[in-house]
């Protein structure tokens, strides 16, 4: 049976709408998963921990300064080592450690899903969704 252009366009729209609905169903399943719930709880606990957040912000600003210095050729390897030691210390703070663990677990689940999509479709899902090719 031959389809008219209007029928074909309707079918195309329906297939995209079905894909969008399947995406939302996947989003809901991810959101209801214990892995995601643990991540949310850990995130909230970290947000409520003022000293840990301040430490992380200070660390990130020093890290940024060091990165700028490296770009201009003035990176001090001792400063880099100091920063590494600082990270080792602050990442042991309970709320941040809990958040990092929960985040890692969530990322593993997300990766499992996106890897499967990429493998089946033949296009990298994460790379296609990243405006700048991901984090540094």
């Amino acid at each position: 049976m031959k389809l008219s252009n209007t029928q074909r366009a309707t079918q195309v729209d329906e297939a995209v709408a079905a894909a969008m609905e399947a995406a939302r169903a996947l989003g809901r399943a991810l959101g209801e998963s214990p892995v995601f719930q643990r991540f949310e709880a850990a995130y909230e606990a970290f947000q409520a921990d003022g000293p840990a957040r301040r430490k992380l912000q200070e660390f990130q600003s020093r890290q940024q300064e060091l990165r700028m210095a490296a770009m201009w050729g003035g990176a001090d390897p001792h400063q880099q080592e100091k920063l590494e030691r600082e990270w080792e210390s602050i990442s042991k703070m309970p709320s941040l450690a809990g958040y990092l663990r929960a985040q890692e677990e969530l990322m593993a689940l997300f990766r499992q899903v996106t890897d499967r999509i990429s493998e089946e479709i033949g296009v990298d899902y994460g790379a296609a969704c990243s405006p700048s090719g991901g984090c540094c």
């Binding site: 995406a23 989003g27 892995v35 990092l100 985040q103 899902y125 994460g126 969704c129």
Partner: protein, 125 residues
Amino acid sequence: METTNLDSRERVLRRTEEFIGALKATSVVRRFDEAARRLEADQEVQSLLGVLRRFQQAQQNGGLSSSELEDVRDAQARIRNHQVVQEFLAAREAVGVLFKETNLAISEILGLDFGQTVSSPRCSC
């Protein structure tokens, strides 16, 4: 608790398979499949890609002469302008746009960017 975790992981994986099935039913992904098959089957494109791969190997093993560099540029230009390659790239880009739209829908529900995954708090970029 273990059973709940397992059930929920299975539900996520089942929804993932359903999502993949729905993506495969779209004309965007079907066009990409056809374009990828044509690219794979095109002898001229495959031969040009083979030339580039051989040159890349040669470059790693000690550089290329100026005439070899000229051949690489020529092969690159022929690949870029090849209709089958252009169609493949356009089809892949269209899949990327569809991916982005679905990622927005998923991310809206989760309240964070699903496709890019959550970036580490250690990373300040």
